[in-house]
C-alpha cells in the first residue's frame, strides 16, 4: 500500500516537473538522461512502443532461410540452379548479420571409400562457400567442412536416398 502511494506521488511530481520545464522536449535528449523516463509521457493518451528486439528471420519456419540444404547431381560438385536461391538468401542474411557464422557441411552418398567421400563432400561444401564469398559474405563467417558418407539424411541404398544425401547443409 505504502509503496503504491509513493509511486503515485513520485509520478505526479515527475509530471509536474515535466510540465513546468522551460526546455522543449524534442530539443534536447540530454533532458531524458537527467529526468525520469516517464517525463516524456506528458500526453496520457500517448502510446510509447516497446521493442523486444526484431524477429530474426532465421527463426521463421516459413521464411526463405528455413531452407538450408543445397543438393548436387551424381558425381557433381557444382551448385545446381535449384540451390542458388538457398545460397543467395543465406548470403544476404549473413551480409546483414556480420556476427553470425555458419558451418557448411558437405555430404555424399554411401558409394565408394570413406576418406575419398569425405574429400568429395568437402568439394560440395567448398562450392557453396565460394558462392557465398562471391556474394560478399566475409571469410570469417564461413567454414566449409565435410561429413562424407557418415551422416546420411536418408537411409537405404535407393537412388532417392542417394540423391537426398548428395547435399551441403548450412548450419548456424
Amino acid at each position: 500500500m505504502n509503496i503504491k502511494r509513493l509511486a503515485f506521488i513520485a509520478s505526479g511530481a515527475a509530471l509536474l516537473t515535466a510540465c513546468s520545464s522551460p526546455v522543449k522536449l524534442n530539443d534536447t535528449p540530454v533532458v531524458e538522461k537527467t529526468a525520469a523516463p516517464v517525463a516524456t509521457a506528458a500526453d496520457p493518451r500517448d502510446v510509447r512502443p516497446v521493442e523486444t528486439g526484431s524477429v530474426d528471420p532465421l527463426n521463421d519456419p516459413k521464411g526463405v532461410l528455413a531452407k538450408r540444404s543445397v543438393y548436387f547431381d551424381f558425381d557433381s560438385y557444382a551448385v545446381r540452379a535449384d540451390g542458388k536461391a538457398v545460397v543467395e538468401n543465406h548470403s544476404a542474411y549473413l551480409n546483414k548479420n556480420k556476427t553470425r557464422k555458419v558451418l557448411i557441411q558437405g555430404n555424399t552418398d554411401e558409394r565408394g571409400g570413406t576418406e575419398y567421400n569425405l574429400a568429395l563432400g568437402q568439394k560440395r561444401a567448398e562450392a557453396v562457400r565460394k558462392s557465398m564469398t562471391t556474394l560478399g559474405v566475409a571469410e570469417g563467417q564461413l567454414e566449409a567442412v565435410s561429413l562424407g558418407e557418415e551422416k546420411p539424411k536418408a537411409t537405404g541404398s535407393s537412388e532417392e536416398a542417394w540423391a537426398e544425401n548428395r547435399r551441403a547443409d548450412i548450419v548456424y
Binding site: G113, Y116, L118, E126, E143, V145, S146, L147, K151
Partner: protein, 421 residues
C-alpha cells in the same frame, strides 16, 4: 571341393571359438600345399580360462597355411612321444604342451614343436601369464609355430582396431580386439561418427577422426591411459591420419587451404607443413615401409588414382592406370606390395599390385578400407553384404578368405596393429 573345405573348417572353428565370441571367423576357401600339423590338447589345460590348444588350432587353420590334425589326446611337453607314429598319421609336425596354475594365480604355459620327419624338436616356449593373458599366450605359441614352419613371423598375437557403429542409436565405438576378433575392448564411445583409425608403430596409441565437434577432427589416443588429444583441428576438415614408420609424425589430409591436400604434422601436433600441391583432391596419405615415400589418392587427372611422392613432398608419380576409380592405397611392411580399392565393372574390389613388376591381382569383391597384417601376408577389409558391413580377411595371394561377423551393428574401418613385444 572348395565347398567341402568350407564346411569342414567352419565347423571346426565354431567348435573352437570361445562362447562369448564377438566376431566369428568363417573360411571360404583354403590354400593348396598346406602343412599337415597335429595339435595335441595341452596337459591340464582346463585349469586356464582359455583353452590353449583350441586357440592354437583355430589360429593355424585360419591362416590357411596348415592342415590341422586333431591329436585327440593330451600330450605334455615332457612326455616321450613316438614321432614315427605321428608321421604315419600324416603329420609333418606335432604340437604338445601343458598348463599349470602357479601359486600367485598366474598360469605357466609350456609348449614344444616337434618335427616328425627329422624326428627332433623345432622349438619350445615357456611363459607365465595372468589369467586374462592366457589367450595371448596361445596366440604367441601359434606365432612361434607359424614362424618356425613358414619362415615368416606370425601375426596371431597382434590386434586390430575398427569402428562398431549403430547409426540409428547414435552409437559409435572405436574397438580394439585380438586379430581373431576375440577379447574386444572399447577404446572410444561417441554419439558421433568415428573413422580412419590408425595404430602408432609401437602399438600403444591410435590416431583417428572424430565428428564430435560437428566436423572431422584428428585425435591421438593413448590406449593404455585413455588420455587423448587433438593433433590437428584446422579450419575445414581434418582427416586420414597415417603414422610415419618411426612414430615421430603423421601424414594427414586437410582442407584448410580449400581443397583437400596432404600435410605432415609432428606427433605432438606441432610443425604442420603442406606436402602435396594440386588443384584437386589429394587424400589418404600412407607412408611407404621405409618412410621415404608417401602414397596417396588424387583426382588431379580426373577420377581418383593412386600417386607416390617423396615423404617431404614435391612432385608425384602416378601408380595406378587401369580403371577410373582407384583409392585407399596401403603398402605391405616389406614395401613390395600395394593393396588398394578399384572400381571396375560397377563394384568396389580389393586389388594387390607387385610394385616391382606392376602385376595386378584382384583379391576380393565388395571391399573397402584395406589394411595389411604386419607380416604382410594378409589384408583385412570392410565388406558390405545383406545391408550390413563386416570385416573380412584375404591372404595376399588371394587363396584364403575369412569373414569376421558380429551379432549386430556395422563393423568397418579396420586397421591392423603392429607387432608388439
Amino acid at each position: 571341393m572348395k565347398k567341402f573345405n568350407y564346411l569342414i573348417f567352419s565347423v571346426t572353428l565354431l567348435a573352437g571359438a570361445a562362447a562369448n565370441a564377438q566376431l566369428r571367423v568363417e573360411i571360404a576357401g583354403v590354400g593348396n600345399n598346406q602343412i599337415p600339423i597335429a595339435v595335441a590338447a595341452f596337459a591340464d589345460e582346463s585349469v586356464a580360462p582359455a583353452q590353449i590348444s583350441a586357440i592354437i588350432k583355430a589360429d593355424l587353420e585360419r591362416s590357411g597355411v596348415f592342415k590341422v590334425i586333431d591329436a585327440g589326446v593330451a600330450i605334455a611337453e615332457t612326455a616321450n612321444v613316438d614321432l614315427g607314429q605321428w608321421k604315419a598319421r600324416g603329420a609333418d609336425a606335432l604340437v604338445v604342451g601343458s598348463v599349470q596354475r602357479l601359486a600367485d594365480g598366474r598360469f605357466d604355459v609350456r609348449y614344444k614343436l616337434l618335427d616328425t620327419i627329422k624326428s627332433g624338436q623345432l622349438s619350445s616356449l615357456g611363459q607365465s601369464a595372468l589369467a586374462k593373458y592366457t589367450r595371448l599366450t596361445a596366440h604367441k605359441i601359434a606365432d612361434d609355430i607359424y614362424e618356425k614352419l613358414t619362415g615368416t613371423r606370425g601375426a596371431f598375437a597382434t590386434r586390430i582396431a575398427y569402428v562398431n557403429e549403430n547409426r540409428a542409436a547414435h552409437d559409435y565405438r572405436l574397438e580394439v580386439a585380438d586379430a581373431d576378433g576375440e577379447s574386444v575392448q572399447v577404446a572410444v564411445r561417441s554419439n558421433e561418427p568415428i573413422i580412419s583409425p590408425s595404430w602408432s608403430p609401437d602399438g600403444t596409441k591410435v590416431a583417428y577422426v572424430s565428428f564430435e565437434k560437428r566436423k572431422p577432427v584428428i585425435y591421438v589416443q593413448d590406449l593404455v591411459t585413455g588420455g587423448r588429444k587433438i593433433v590437428v583441428n584446422q579450419k575445414g576438415s581434418n582427416s586420414a591420419p597415417s603414422w610415419a614408420p618411426d612414430g615421430s609424425k603423421l601424414a594427414v589430409a586437410l582442407s584448410k587451404d580449400g581443397n583437400t591436400q596432404v600435410y605432415g604434422v609432428n606427433a605432438d601436433g606441432s610443425g604442420l607443413r603442406r606436402l602435396s600441391n594440386s588443384s584437386g583432391i589429394d587424400t589418404e596419405p600412407q607412408y611407404s615401409a621405409d618412410g621415404q615415400s608417401i602414397y596417396f589418392t588424387s583426382d588431379r587427372s580426373g577420377g581418383p588414382q593412386i600417386y607416390k611422392m617423396s615423404a617431404s613432398g614435391g612432385n608425384a608419380a602416378r601408380v595406378t592406370f587401369k580403371g577410373n576409380y582407384n583409392i585407399s592405397p596401403r603398402v605391405s611392411s616389406d614395401g613390395k606390395t600395394l593393396a588398394w580399392i578399384s572400381q571396375r565393372d560397377g563394384g568396389y574390389s580389393l586389388y594387390a599390385m607387385d610394385l616391382a613388376s606392376g602385376q595386378e591381382q584382384r583379391l576380393a569383391d565388395a571391399a573397402t578400407e584395406p589394411s595389411f597384417s604386419p607380416n604382410g601376408k594378409y589384408i583385412m577389409y570392410a565388406t558390405k553384404g545383406g545391408g550390413r558391413t563386416a570385416l573380412a580377411v584375404v591372404s595376399v595371394d588371394g587363396r584364403v578368405k575369412q569373414r569376421l561377423t558380429t551379432q549386430a551393428g556395422n563393423i568397418r574401418e579396420p586397421n591392423w596393429g603392429p607387432f608388439m613385444k
